[in-house]
Symmetry: D2
Subunit: 324 residues, 4 copies
């Protein structure tokens, strides 16, 4: 085993449901393996400013079911400068911290990579983001909860759409990735799903809307915010083609980030939390713990943050087949 | 008892959760009392176009828990004209329908009043709207579900607000009424609630935001859409006064209309459904069935639609006291 | 105004959703009115053992949405003896506490009454129990959440009942009161509701089950645990009369106590929390704050705990009419 | 492509959330590929009794979000006899049905195997059961929803456990499999999980309960119903060892089967629905469509129903590490 005796954990970037479950798992796995555990508040900002607190098993009791992150999170400007990172290093050195677990997305791992390079700190990462846009793991922590939140919201909108024979354009999160849109689209029986990864074929959509008219009284079109048009523009185009449709737009926004984590996200966070600490103790650094086909895998940060295209052709086919 | 033997029910205006529970109660209460029951599709449009179907006890089985309305709803332009209403009258006359229960809000009851005046049709109303803006009933059907949907959404937003030390401005429904905003504001621990019934004292709000800074890491401000500013403008004003705040806006939109009705809305809908039919059979017409202090009351349409101010001073005081 | 400067709050008896919202309201209202606030842990046990902690506005931040009670609760044996109560008195005297808010049910108020009698302590009560079995308030804190939990569970059971053409007997909480059973029964379209307040007419139930056979594929019978038979016995009797029915029993149990409080319970808790403190400061003691028809009322403990029969005849009629 | 032109779909065995999503996908995929589609009511009973109805795209509209199965389900005694299966064959022959999709668990596939053997009917299966106890798929349809229902219920119970410093023994479904218990145990931070696949080491459990006493005020022990003791016995044993603990038992029961399917179950059901039809048309029979590591796989019925042990050692380790 290693010489790592003092481990700190932080959450960084946008919050995602399950971050608390991951913090809990990291802290308890560390204690289980004999380490002293610390929590850093407000992500890298807390490292820079020395907001670092000791954590015991009880400090993470009864948080597995809570949304958000008890350690808080932030996007740190200071940590982007060498001065900031130097301060951060001095703070952890002072406390004897010689291992770090960072929970977040690509920005988090980019910062960690620099920090390792300059100060040779062992860091292992955990994928905590609702966007599911990292390589090296089938799912990121928070994604399953976010898509369930979207599905729950669109089910409600469908009630109104059905009652009024309306077409709703629903914009969901996903600046660079259509994964939230695609799975929630299948799950809500959406008539079309527009995502940044695929060019929109408006003519095909309009044709389909027209052909399926007799089977449907309501229609839902899901648009990822990263699609170059956005929900409002899509709605305008549909109105142009079908002026008699009653078209409405709903932008789901921030409700997608919060809430109780789903069972899947809690299990994922628990497994990756334990794996990250055990990886650290086994000498891993600069790697993200992920779950691929039910097995733990470690992926170098540089590879994890490359936005591989996870869009599954089969899923886009399913939307088309089922929106008859 | 009356000569009414054939009763039709319709839903009109914006859909609200619990409308199906009300339809079920009307149909079954009618059958219980020996009437033949009919359902009209798409509100008054269905009367005009003759979309009227017979309903039996089974036709309303297993719908009490469903959002929206199985009869669909619409805002009818045709019914606003005497020609439209004449067609409607002929359609119901043809089927021998001599009693009508209409579920909806002020537009619905205004239409019903005209119809009664011109054609002497017995009509009783049921308050089905999420806005709770009718006189003659403590609560309208759908209001309790809508405020729970808002509370659930704002709880999620609070997770993110807490994690990021942010201030969120959340815009909720309520064009003419701050009731959704006020109760959901109290329930989510909002730091301020802005409603159309009260002039906004920005200085007081800013002062309070400033004074409570040390107790709070996150803040929520609830704004009713009918407030003359709207969520985006309110956010801008706060940013002007507190440029260092991380301010975000969330407009909840259409999710507030749908979803499974709450227990309270189902009980209310069931009671008013039965009461409306029994009222009709006892000779009432041009009145809305409502529940005041747990007792059934009937209020003439003309009085029910007068937007009385239901804003309770005590509730606005509570927001202030509890947002310490 | 009064001389009360130091106020303590405690929760006692079975926990109910909204107790945290009430604690928050008591603490903040006290601070708002210039008092020093204390929290007592584990109900009267904490008074006896001196588990009393100072509370500020921040100590109750972000708890309004949480089930259970952060102060914990217990049924205290020691406080039932004069020795226990003497210890309790000495503990609060030591801290200068000269006002007490107790949140709970009839056991809580009975204890409070003795304590007042013996030591002349100003105490005001808040009704916190899922059973809604207190006089002096339309609803107790936690009741609305509990019935929504029941409704949510029975909706799930209905899915299975419908899929299998089954009859389910569902036992819900309510040892002395059928209020949970009655409202959840109406809300889930139950074919029958059995409650302790009314003698069961099995013949009538069996007749109804038989008559409505053609309209129904599934049936739900709700039984309050306090009904002298209990769910299992009821199920046996039905099987005797209808041996070919596929009858199942579900005892909902403890899930009915927990969970996020509903909007209604949060508003109620917030209002009664403020009212209890203001009542105390105005000189009230030995009274429970309640809400009747939207207005705050104070009722002496002795009267509040008398189990008045809140069973509304109209509600039992509704079950019969709607279970066609 | 094949000569299959008329395809019927049925659901059989215990209902599971997502069965409706699967029915919808089968029907629409069949229509998409040019087949005529039929629905069989009440599982194999409907085949035997000729309860077979034509289905079009609209007949499965707006059901993706509903629990249970619109086709109903049953365990058929008649189909177990050659006479019953002969009747079934005659019924489908009469309608020209030459392909069948069966949704269910091991009983369903065992019946299908016999039917194929005797009458050479092309049948493809879809795994629809909450137990996740089939080989050939990572997850069965309904499992994800069921574990989320369990987690939601245990979260509520945890509120009460925390408030009262109690230990709760919660019995969950899983006659032959501890999968529901294991994942829900990790997700709710259970202190121990007892499953049929592993012998219970009571001494170890008691030791752990004792050691972690200072970190915990509440404890949850999850017991799979198939564990040879059952929840009540486990509770008794704990009380023997720790007579001063306040121990309660909750048997979750039938609520675990119903409810809206989760996003994951809807996507799974949609994918397997399409795959089953396409498999049938490509000439597959006697196989179950499953999803392994995100890819569609087909597994012969005989292999799918062999209860392979899916218990992951890592998951049992996680329970131990995290229940510190």
């Amino acid at each position: 085993m290693s010489e790592i005796k003092n481990i700190a954990v932080l959450t960084s970037g946008g919050d995602s449901p399950g971050m608390n479950a991951a913090i809990r798992a990291v802290v308890r796995a560390g204690i289980y393996h004999g380490a002293n555990m610390f929590g850093v508040r407000r992500g890298y900002d807390g490292l820079v400013n020395g907001e670092i607190i000791p954590m015991d098993a009880k400090s993470v009791a009864n948080i597995i079911q809570r949304g958000g992150t008890i350690l808080k999170t932030a996007r740190s400007e200071e940590f982007k400068s060498i001065e900031g990172r130097t301060k951060a290093y001095e703070n952890i050195k002072k406390l004897g911290i010689n291992g770090l677990v960072v929970i977040g997305g690509d920005g988090t791992f980019t910062g960690a990579s620099k920090f390792i390079e300059e100060f040779d700190i062992p860091i292992v990462g955990i994928p905590g983001t609702i966007d599911n846009d990292l390589a090296g793991t089938d799912f990121t922590i928070g994604y399953d909860t976010a898509i369930n939140t979207v599905v729950d919201a669109v089910d409600k909108i469908r009630d109104t759409a059905e009652s009024h024979d309306r077409l709703f354009v629903v914009e969901v999160m996903g600046r660079d990735s259509g994964l939230i849109a695609l799975r929630s689209g299948i799950s809500t029986g959406a008539e079309a799903v527009l995502i940044p990864e695929l060019t929109v074929d408006y003519q095909a959509i309009m044709k389909r809307l027209d052909q399926t008219r007799k089977n449907k009284s309501s229609r839902i079109i899901i648009v990822a915010e990263g699609d170059n048009e956005g929900g409002l523009v899509v709605a305008e185009k549909i109105k142009e083609s079908f002026p008699h449709y009653d078209v409405r737009v709903s932008i789901l926004g921030h409700i997608q980030r919060g809430g109780k984590p789903s069972c899947m996200d809690r299990v994922l966070a628990s497994r990756l939390g334990v794996a990250s600490v055990e990886g650290l103790l086994e000498g891993r650094r600069g790697e993200m713990a992920g779950l691929i086909c039910g097995q733990i895998h470690f992926t170098p940060f540089g590879k994890a943050i490359k936005h591989i295209d996870k869009i599954n052709d089969n899923l886009t086919r399913i939307v088309e087949i089922l929106s008859l």
